[in-house]
Amino acid sequence: MKQVAIECNDIRKSFGSVEALRGVSIKAVAGEVTAIVGDNGAGKSTLIKCISGVYDADDGEIKINGEVVKFVNPEESRSFGIETVYQTLGLIEDLTIWQNLFLNRELTKGVGPARLLDKRKMRDRSEEMLKNLDVYIPSVKARTRGLSGGQRQAVAICRAAGWGSKVVIMDEPTAALGVKETAKVEELIKRMKAKGLAILLISHNFDQVLRLADHIWVMRQGSVMAGMRANETDGDHLVSLITGAATGGKSK
């Protein structure tokens, strides 16, 4: 029996009179890819922002490895092992790869006000982090600006996976990528899964969801409509659940 890495119970979030989340409960298992699908405005992004600490949920609880946790900002969420790979923002172009990997987690040496960056250690560790997920980049000393879209996403994913994290949230990780690069990122996701991470994947691409996911949650108008194993469904079924043409009954 695999361990439930993250569990959300009855999460609610409103913006003024708009109910973005009307009591959402999902869970994701370690070593699995859990996909969240739904139309625009279904509440997927709001949900992951509650999980990653960007939003503070109005109600409901989040459990990590069975323990109820509470956080109000991304940093606290990160301290519980929840990392997010964003669709657009993430890496800072003017900084090098190793600087990005260690951004706001820089290693220092020395004491007191004379704390200086331990650049060599960070470069060495950066190389390890990339190698650990079989990502090949010419030099960690290169500026991110010169990297291709796929390489950037790979670096961003390595950053999310490389910090003893338990849950990695990916919001449309391949939306801006070409076919070849998408394949590479998908490989990367499989390797992360093999390392026992729980991956929460948001994607509009049903083929991708069916290829990668072990479990799928369908959201519609701020609620979870259905939850199923990926091998029990197909694209048409998903579409009918998302549009509301079919009802999934009680989510499981």
Partner: protein
């Protein structure tokens, strides 16, 4: 740029793995940042060479080069603060007024019989307070940095006039005068002080967490915030540093003039922004060096010094400095595309 990136993606990875040392050097030369970094050094040497050839017996003397160093020291300190604000994609237009305000505060403390070190701390603190005010309004209230520091320019200048009643105060102190006059191995004390600040600033920018976070905030504030970096903290600190350096530079001005004057020193503001641009710091933030603007400061002083020696009236020197700045900015602009 983004169009290029997509075309390159397919072959980039395979290519990248087998990158030789030679191609890496080629890449360095193609990197516009590399050129904007070294452009200023080349330009500086060129200017020294030209004036040296035009007027070898007047320009290239120890006495004159020493003059250039003395004149560069105070601007060099202001430029460090300006570099920090520009690196966060901001600007500090109030540096010259803060300097005046600091000088007046120094004068007040001094005539009240405070010990010298307390006067120095007081002047620096006065600048620090102005800088903190700038930073808090810019970062917390999210008001445009240009407007806030422009307002502070007026506030600090006015406060200096009010506190001093518009009159300069003579400051007679042997130790202060010594700092301004003396030199060691032909290098003036003032320059040693400036260079020490430059060195510390370099270490802060490139060898501390604060420096990395500063560049991150300047390069991409949203991405920096997503990684948990406090933009407010960084911005407040950056303007506080700029203000404090202006307050400290005021002490050196007092030591040079021998008086605390409420008169505004506007050319130092223009020069500081000019040196930052010339020194290859991106006005969009995220990319900076400390030594580039430092060399640019020397360059600007050498330029006006050389023109003076050639007998060019100071009116024309303003034009020359302005033209150099605009040309260098447009050079950097095109090479960044």
């Amino acid at each position: 740029m983004s169009v290029n990136r997509n075309n390159e993606t397919a072959s980039a990875e395979a290519e990248a793995v087998s990158k030789s040392a030679k191609s890496r050097i080629q890449e360095t030369f193609r990197d516009p940042f590399f050129w904007s970094k070294w452009l200023v050094v080349v330009a500086f040497l060129l200017i020294v060479l030209v004036f040296g050839l035009l007027s070898p017996e007047a320009f290239l003397t120890t006495y004159n080069l020493n003059n250039i160093l003395v004149a560069s020291a105070i601007p060099a300190i202001i430029v460090v603060g300006q570099t920090f604000t520009v690196a966060t994609a901001g600007i500090d237009l109030s540096v010259s007024s803060i300097m005046t305000f600091g000088a007046v505060c120094f004068g007040l403390a001094f005539t009240n019989g405070w010990p010298l070190y307390q006067c120095i701390i007081f002047s620096t603190l006065a600048g620090f307070v102005c800088g903190i005010a700038n930073g808090l309004i810019i970062a917390k209230r999210e008001v445009n940095d240009f407007i806030v520091t422009l307002g502070m320019l007026s506030v600090a200048a006015g406060a200096a006039l009010v506190l001093s009643d518009g009159k300069p105060r003579q400051i007679i102190d042997e130790r202060l005068a010594n700092v301004a006059i003396n030199e060691f191995t032909h290098i003036p004390y003032l320059m040693f002080i400036a260079f020490a600040i430059v060195l510390v600033a370099h270490f802060v920018l490139f060898h501390t967490r604060f420096g990395t976070h500063l560049l991150a905030v300047g390069g991409d504030p949203d991405a920096a915030r997503a990684m948990g970096i406090s933009i407010v903290k960084i911005k407040v600190l950056v303007y506080a540093i700029s203000g404090s350096l202006a307050g400290f530079a005021a002490v050196l001005t007092v030591s040079r003039i021998g008086a605390a004057e409420p008169a505004a020193n506007t050319s130092i503001l223009l020069n500081s922004v000019a040196a930052v641009v010339l020194g290859g710091v991106s006005l969009f933030g995220g990319r900076a060096t400390i030594f580039g603007p430092f060399v640019a400061t020397l360059l600007l002083q050498a330029l006006s010094n050389g023109l003076t020696i050639l007998g060019v009236a100071s009116y024309y020197q303003y034009i020359a400095v302005g033209v150099v700045v605009i040309i260098s900015a447009s050079l950097v602009r095109t090479s960044n595309k």
